[in-house]
């Protein structure tokens, strides 16, 4: 290892030549091929791609939830072979990832069990994280008593309670209504700004990818390869309405949509 480098500038995650395929009726269908990227410490990275390009699978391999077929993932220089305790995966299906037999607080405590915390410390810290997502009044409720957006906020509080360095989000807002989605995006950006977390967000929503991220990694159609990685360069803090009206946002949105829709750039001729 290059010991002279400032550890803060070394990538926190390195994805090296990952390929994946699935077998259906005896045929091997490649999903993505030879994907490589470096994820910087503390950045907000969006992974954007059309449906079926395997971006969720990619995220699960990074999280150590799925074994890689070829290629490697390094987390802080160490090869990932199982879920590392400092990377937490947030599922799209909040209604399935929350445990229905536990209260909201019990679900958040779930992330702290098996560690050194005492029961009362867990409860106290759990309440803090619930306060961050604005659900401290609902600690005693059960998940099925909450709306979808609130359930996903519980899942976010739970992920934070595990005190990860990296938060891997798999289309976390695609199952809630449009307005709730905007609120959750702003909430996550606020948490990210205050915590110093590294966030990797997988989405097929161009707006969301650009609005949230420092960089957008764009995957092509299946069999997917890394199309390009663009810096958004949008100023922070971002505003759910104003940021979306800036020329830079519109320009990026235009470019990326053109690529996703698989057509030549329109109105952007030289």
């Amino acid at each position: 290892m290059t010991g002279q480098l400032n550890p803060a500038e070394a990538p926190i995650i390195e994805v090296l030549n990952l390929s994946h395929a699935f077998t259906a009726r005896g045929h091997t269908v490649p999903v993505f091929q030879d994907i490589s990227m470096s994820i910087r410490r503390g950045e907000f990275l969006s992974v954007l791609g059309p449906s079926g390009c395997g971006k969720s699978t990619l995220l699960q391999i990074i999280a150590g939830l799925l074994p890689s077929m070829s290629g490697r993932v390094l987390f802080e220089g160490q090869q990932v072979t199982g879920p590392p305790p400092e990377m937490v995966y947030l599922f799209q299906q909040y209604n399935k990832s929350l445990l229905p037999w536990r209260s909201v607080l019990g679900n958040v405590s779930f992330a702290m069990e098996g560690k050194t915390w005492t029961r009362s410390q867990r409860a106290e810290r759990g309440m803090e994280y619930l306060r961050i997502v604005g659900l401290d009044d609902f600690a005693d409720h059960y998940p099925w008593q909450l709306s979808g957006g609130m359930q996903q906020r519980v899942a976010i509080a739970r992920a934070l309670a595990a005190e990860p360095k990296v938060l891997l989000m798999d289309e976390p807002f695609s199952a809630v209504d449009a307005l709730t989605r905007l609120e959750l995006q702003t909430l996550v950006l606020k948490i990210w700004a205050q915590s110093g977390l590294t966030v990797v967000l997988v989405t097929h929503d161009v707006d969301e990818a650009v609005f949230m991220a420092d960089r957008v990694a764009m995957l092509s159609r299946r069999p997917a390869v890394m199309d390009r990685i663009v810096e958004t360069g949008l100023p922070r803090p971002r505003d759910a309405v104003v940021t979306r009206e800036t020329p830079r946002f519109l320009e990026l949105r235009h470019q990326l949509l053109d690529t996703l829709l698989h057509r030549d750039p329109v109105g952007a001729d030289a």
Partner: protein, 277 residues
């Protein structure tokens, strides 16, 4: 929508290893499963042949197989099995018919439901063996008794499932029937019965297993004929090889019955996409 429908949950490293190395370890454990059965059979044979289990009542496995063979050839075991099957089928058909008819009535006539539901709930948990002794007083110990007991045991699951099946019919279907001005009877035969059929058949499958067990229970308590009686007699008469032969045949029959009913069920309600269990 979600491209990663292959969220696979694996516990521990074993599954991950087999995913990357193919089917090999699964094949090994499957073979191991059958070897376990074989080993137990060999242990049975050896313990009896070598006198490890010093008991008159522990025949070697091959001896039991010979008893199956002989029992089939002489017709003794075969006859006993057939008579049990016949009684079971009679009771099953009578009980199913009563269950379906009574179930349809209770489900569609609110007054009947109100007056009968708790009575059914009260009688249903009574274990079958307990109704055999009083029925012996009235019916003796011959076929009439056993068919009655089996029919009683079969009626309740079929009845409950029939009511449940009718209750779960989509209201739109019934309204459709009404817009086409179907009569009550037409609605019953063309809408209600076919819609409830998958649930009714599921109840009948449960009942078939119950009928099988009940026939043997009745034959054991009120012995005069059949496999249940045969097993009791061979146990008293110290003919353990024949007793085990009968038990093995019962296992095969139980397996065959379930298989047969599932194939019939598939043919009858193959259109039904819901999972019934």
């Amino acid at each position: 929508m979600s491209e990663a429908a292959q969220h696979s949950a694996t516990l521990g490293p074993a599954a991950a290893a087999s995913a990357s190395r193919g089917m090999r370890p699964a094949m090994i454990s499957k073979v191991a499963g059958w070897l376990l059965v074989l080993a137990l059979l060999v242990a049975w044979e050896a313990s009896a042949r070598l006198g490890l289990v010093k008991s008159q009542s522990w025949p070697p496995f091959t001896g039991v197989l010979r008893a199956v063979w002989d029992g089939m050839l002489t017709g003794e075991l075969l006859g006993v099995l057939l008579s049990t099957m016949l009684r079971m089928l009679k009771g099953f058909l009578i009980g199913s018919a009563i269950g379906v008819v009574l179930g349809l009535l209770i489900a569609t006539v609110p007054l009947l439901r109100r007056f009968l539901s708790i009575v059914i709930e009260a009688v249903r948990p009574l274990p079958i063996p307990a109704i055999v002794p009083p029925l012996i007083l009235f019916l003796g110990i011959d076929d009439g008794l056993k068919v009655t007991v089996v029919a009683l045991a079969v009626t309740f699951p079929v009845l409950i499932n029939t009511i449940g099946g009718v209750d779960n019919i989509d209201g739109t279907l019934l309204q459709t029937a009404r817009t086409f001005r179907k009569t009550r009877l037409e609605t019953m035969t063309s809408i209600i019965l076919p819609s409830a059929l998958p649930t009714i058949l599921a109840g009948m499958r449960i009942s078939l297993g119950l009928a099988f067990v009940t026939t043997i229970v009745a034959e054991m308590i009120a012995g005069s004929a059949g496999v249940g009686y045969f097993i009791m007699v061979t146990q008293y008469g110290m003919r353990p090889d024949q007793m085990y032969a009968a038990v093995i045949c019962l296992a095969a029959l139980g397996y065959g019955l379930n298989w047969a009913f599932v194939s019939i069920e598939r043919r009858l309600v193959g259109w039904d996409q819901r999972q019934d269990d």
